[in-house]
Amino acid sequence: MRKSNKNQQKIREQSGTYALQGGENVSEKKILLGNEAIARGAYEAGVKVSAAYPGTPSTEISESIAKYDEVYAEWSPNEKVAAEVAIGASIAGVRSMCSMKHVGVNVASDPLFTAAYTGVSGGMVIVAADDPGMYSSQNEQDSRMVARAAMIPVLEPSDSAEAKEFTKLAFDLSEKYDTPIMVRSTTRLSHSQGIVELEERTEREPVAYERNIAKYVMMPANAIKRHIAVEERMKKMGEDACGMSVNRVEYRDLSVGFITSGIPYQYVREVMPEASVLKLGLVHPLPRKLIEEFAARVDTLYIFEELEPVIEEQVKSWGILKAVGKELFTVQGEYSANMLRERVLGQKCQVMPQAQVPARPPILCPGCPHRSVYSVLNRLKIHAAGDIGCYTLGAVAPLSVVDSTICMGSSISTLHGMEKARGKEYIRNWVAVIGDSTFMHTGINSLMNMVYNQSAGTVVILDNSTTGMTGHQDHAATGKTLKGEVVPAINIAGLCRSLGIEHVYEISAFDLDGLAEAFRRETKRDAVSVIITKAPCVLLKGVTFPDKCVPVQEKCRKCGACLRPGCPALTKNEDGTVAIDETMCNGCGLCEKLCKFGAIETRKADRT
């Protein structure tokens, strides 16, 4: 990637405002993910600080921005911390960004709702990546609703090129209107690639610091005044929005008009290129006048927005009752071009019915340490209050260990709640399971609560040395930063002991007997205990398994014990004996340990 010529691009502060000095306009076209384009936009806008916790579909924003030397980028333990880091950087006068998935916005909402009151010094952008269709999430909430509640403006791009442009614009608007601003993405935007024209970075001098407690200390007397400023700002911005180029009216055939934004705009263009469109780039606050004009000029008016009727309800509240939205389109899942073909044009799209084939849900990888731990919990008939990560997959057959999953860090506190509701005996066959990264995210708070309020719960921390599900990001207990620096790793066992927990044990995730003994013993105990199961994620860079598991067919009694944990590398031959796919097997040895007849051996693999 290009680096800017800092001298050439040096920007001077002039009487408290930024003066932009254009560098050479270097045009380079690249094909970028929506997330990479957001990172590029922030880079070109001169962002100095970026903080985030990984979460699909937002993760690649941070991974991309970390590659620029000019930007400080970090994985924070959670989204609240990330938002506060960005707020601090903004108060210190530089452009800052925090990015997160939609449910991360919930975690960050405490600082965000009040940062809307304080406003900014350096521009501050929150990127929220929603997940319509729930490809990798526990709900499909709409971040525009949160932004409206927080009184934070929202920009919504509709392809990679706009993702870059809108992110740059977001920083300008943030400073112009003295507000944090949200760039809202969705999975389809974040994980689609399109052509983007790269430009140079514009460096900026930090805004000179001035102590201003009326703006930055939100105690009642100050906050009361700031709330007035917030209302005025949103009103002003709504008026100005009518003239913003990101809110674009495309008049074509006036018999049909669409108000739309983001990815759904592309479906409208795909299916009805002749229809008139009001494409909203700023989706909060809405440009009321512009919408009223557009609505008056078209005969039939559709509002085509994924998830909640955010635009629609406002438009209808202004008396534009001819607008058709959720009567025809759904609040659930992703939209599509075929949805328009079918529901607006009345076409039949599918040329043949979908074949009836077995489902192929995601599963734990061959060699995954979670499978080993779950196989023991399953055998002991222990239930687990679950959490967010790959190990959520332990809910389904054949492992069927996890009974509940709500949100990040919830396993420990829900188990605690169950105990307080029904007593210690009730949770004798229960544990909480949580990953190392999720434990650092918000699990630690819940563990403190267990200690403080005298729980007898058993917490199993599945430590695979990474944030697995999102694609292997580091965290405070891995000893490496987002920028790749080696730093002291927080010791999870030591952290737990420091809370005053006496019974903290570290056991290999593949020590089946050790695990079984610890689970039996600790669930009986009348005090909090923590069992940390250790083995790195098999997909983690540098993790190699020297062995392969190989069946010894003549010894196989066809009992199926090895198949029970559901390793995808294992199947049955036609005669009922076990077969192991050598290209999939990582040689973890779990199946060998489960075989009482010695019908599986681990052998040295000649890996290529």
Binding site: Q354, A355, R360, I363, L364, C365, T583, T608
Partner: protein, 189 residues
Amino acid sequence: MSVKNIMIVGVGGQGTLLTSRILGNLAVRGGYDVKLSEVHGMAQRGGSVVTFVRYGEQVAEPIVEAGQADVLIAFERLEALRYLHFLKEDGVVIVNDWRIDPITVVTGAAAYPEGVLDTLCAARKTIVVEAMKTAKELGVPKSFNVVVLGAAARYVGFGREDWLKVIEETVPPKTVEVNLKAFEAGYLL
């Protein structure tokens, strides 16, 4: 030209992302507008995955929908069948003759369908590729995906030289040689 719609389907971990990147870069090199859509995160863990590639003069939507695909590249038989209805009537499916049992089949909750290749052949123009066999002969079983891509190349378009150049620029440097060999082997099948 009208927009060309290509789908790559398979099982998480089979390398659909890498192959879609090759296709994307190929389209950029050809001077086309291009959009790709991928699945990251949870679904990648051994689940059914699908990647869309669309290229042409101007591309609006980033996905390919049912009944719209020109080419369906499948790294596994069952996955070809799962997405068969995405093909246009004159669309073509290039299928790797390879079976991976979904967990629902392993646990006995469902049965792997019989005669998948026959079903495919009866419905649409079908090219069956024994890519794993070829890749094993090359000594790198994991390169099977590029073998399939090689076999799909003449249906996707672009010249052989363009493919080779783009593969060289897209795959990790250490794997260039084997991937070029894998492509050539697939191309000649």
